[in-house]
């Protein structure tokens, strides 16, 4: 079936399909493809069918919880689902069983969602390729020799492959937007602290965000509103593109792009301008400070959380993740504090850049999905470390807390998806979604 949530919700209410049927369809897709894609760490088939039957019973009795009722969703295995292990894709977590649902999962259940399973990730969300996982790497549905991005790689793969209609992920440096771009889905990181992270294993408590991955902006909106606790959200009006005021921060953000990504980005900008959008160039200062500030904060925060297990069970981590965490323990307090001060300065810089605009417009990922196992990637004449490249365009907005969304903007000649990133004003994720919907409509029509 491979429907959007919007399509499924209409057919469900027209009695043309049941929640059980669409759940069974997702479970069949998982059975057919999970061996190839390794997107799920745990499939909750019996529980999902039970939840779907209950959703059907409620609707038949006239109790409508809203657009997520009976919708099969997947949950990143960093987030607690009561009665199941939260593995974080790590042997460090062996024996764990969640005693409660994470707050966000409770809200999705209250909205009637059906939880089909938990998805693979980069161990403890500390990476962007999904290669370092106790379950082995998740793979990209568009080319299984390539990474689905990370750390929410299994979540993006599950949505792109029709194993779930949407997924709940987390984003500390781009971990929702990067896999969304690599797999051709939509991924939203709301404003920092907008959604509760209780019941989520932290990577950096000052930069962790929860958010949805889905096939369309409208579907993303439904999940996002449910995560807010709203069960009957009003569908946002699509703005005409001629009302959009966008700014492209070209220096740094457009300096280092694969040719195919640049081509898709330029084509999207041309289509938006042709539709009447106002698009100007802008500049953020001291972009050279983004990665250093990000690294010192995420390392300091991660070291604080992982210190005890690094001492007690170091060999249960995958070797590369253990080494990065051990390195993180050498960050000095004075440098962590400097990074916090730079963060505050960069936050103001992004606030100023947004004045007079609906959103910043930039690519999400400088390259198409990299091959699994690649340590570096060639961009033009330069070889760049994959990890640095993957984080380059997303990590700033984890530092500053601005809401950011990735939407698909075409594919390369090899059929690999590219992502377009929109960044909005803090605490205005709703507005960002209206803008994203207008951009999505324009690109769909172009």
């Amino acid at each position: 079936m491979n429907w959007t949530i919007d399509q499924f919700a209409r057919k469900l209410r027209a009695r043309q399909v049941s929640a059980l049927e669409v759940t069974d369809d997702c479970l069949r897709q998982i059975a057919a493809d999970n061996g190839r894609l390794n997107a799920f760490t745990l499939v909750l088939a019996d529980e999902a069918r039970q939840q779907a039957r209950e959703a059907d019973r409620e609707l038949a009795a006239g109790f409508d919880r809203g657009p997520l009722q009976g919708v099969p969703l997947s949950i990143k295995d960093l987030i607690d689902v009561k009665g199941t292990p939260t593995t974080a894709a790590s042997r460090v977590r062996e024996g764990h069983v969640a005693r409660h649902d994470a707050a966000a999962v409770s809200r999705l259940r209250a909205a009637g969602a059906v939880l089909v399973g938990k998805t693979n990730l980069h161990e403890f969300a500390f990476g962007t390729t999904n290669e370092e996982s106790a379950f082995g790497p998740a793979r990209n549905p568009h080319d299984p020799t390539r990474s689905p991005g990370g750390s929410s790689g299994g979540s993006a793969a599950s949505v792109a492959a029709g194993m779930a209609l949407a997924s709940l992920g987390t984003d500390t440096g781009g971990s929702i937007r990067i896999p969304a771009a690599a797999c051709g889905t939509v991924g939203l990181k709301p404003t920092f602290d907008e959604l509760p992270t209780d019941g989520v294993i932290p990577l950096s408590r000052t930069m962790d965000h929860l958010g949805p991955l889905a096939k369309t902006v409208t579907d993303t909106w439904y999940v996002f509103r449910a995560l807010h606790g709203g069960t009957h959200p009003k569908l946002p009006e699509a703005q005409p593109a001629r009302h959009l005021r966008l700014a492209i921060p070209r220096p740094y953000f457009c300096d280092l792009l694969d040719d195919s990504v640049r081509s898709r980005f330029d084509a999207a900008v041309t289509a938006l301008r042709a539709a009447g959008a106002s698009i100007n160039d802008t500049e953020l200062r001291r972009t050279d400070l983004i990665a250093p500030a990000y690294l010192h904060i995420v390392f300091g925060d991660a070291a604080a959380y992982h210190g005890p297990t690094l001492d007690a069970v170091p060999d249960r981590y995958t070797r590369p993740v253990r080494l990065r965490l051990e390195m993180a323990r050498y960050v000095l307090a004075e440098d962590y504090v400097r990074a916090l001060q730079v963060r505050q300065w960069l936050r103001h810089e992004v606030d100023v850049a947004l004045r007079g605009y609906d959103a910043l417009l930039l690519p999400t990922l400088p390259i198409p999905a990299p091959s699994l196992g690649a340590a570096s990637v060639r961009i033009g004449t330069r070889d760049e470390p994959v990890r640095n490249v993957m984080l380059r365009l997303t990590q700033l907005f984890n530092l500053t807390g601005h809401p950011a969304i990735s939407i698909p903007c075409g594919v390369t000649e090899e059929g690999l998806p590219c992502g377009l990133q929109l960044v909005g004003t803090r605490m205005q994720a709703d507005t960002l979604l209206y803008v994203a919907r207008a951009v999505e409509n324009t690109l769909d029509e172009s």
Binding site: R286, D288, L289, R324, E326, M327, D335, Q341, V342
Partner: protein
């Protein structure tokens, strides 16, 4: 502590702990630390006003 001194100590400590593979990672972190320190915003003990990270100290934004 200077970055150079920090790096020397960190590499020695990592080797003592049997983690000599950390050396290239620590060298990368040291580079990031040097960039971070080049933009220090903190008040220093010998001056009264904090510096901003603009390379030339300017506060104006590029024209749009």
């Amino acid at each position: 502590m200077t970055v150079e001194h920090w790096l020397e100590n960190a590499v020695a400590d990592a080797e003592r702990r049997g983690l000599s593979e950390l050396k290239p990672l620590l060298e990368g972190l040291a580079q990031a630390t040097m960039i971070l320190r080049s933009a220090t915003l903190t008040e220093s003990a010998d001056s009264s006003s904090p510096k901003e990270p603009g390379a030339d100290g300017s506060s104006g934004r590029p024209a749009r």
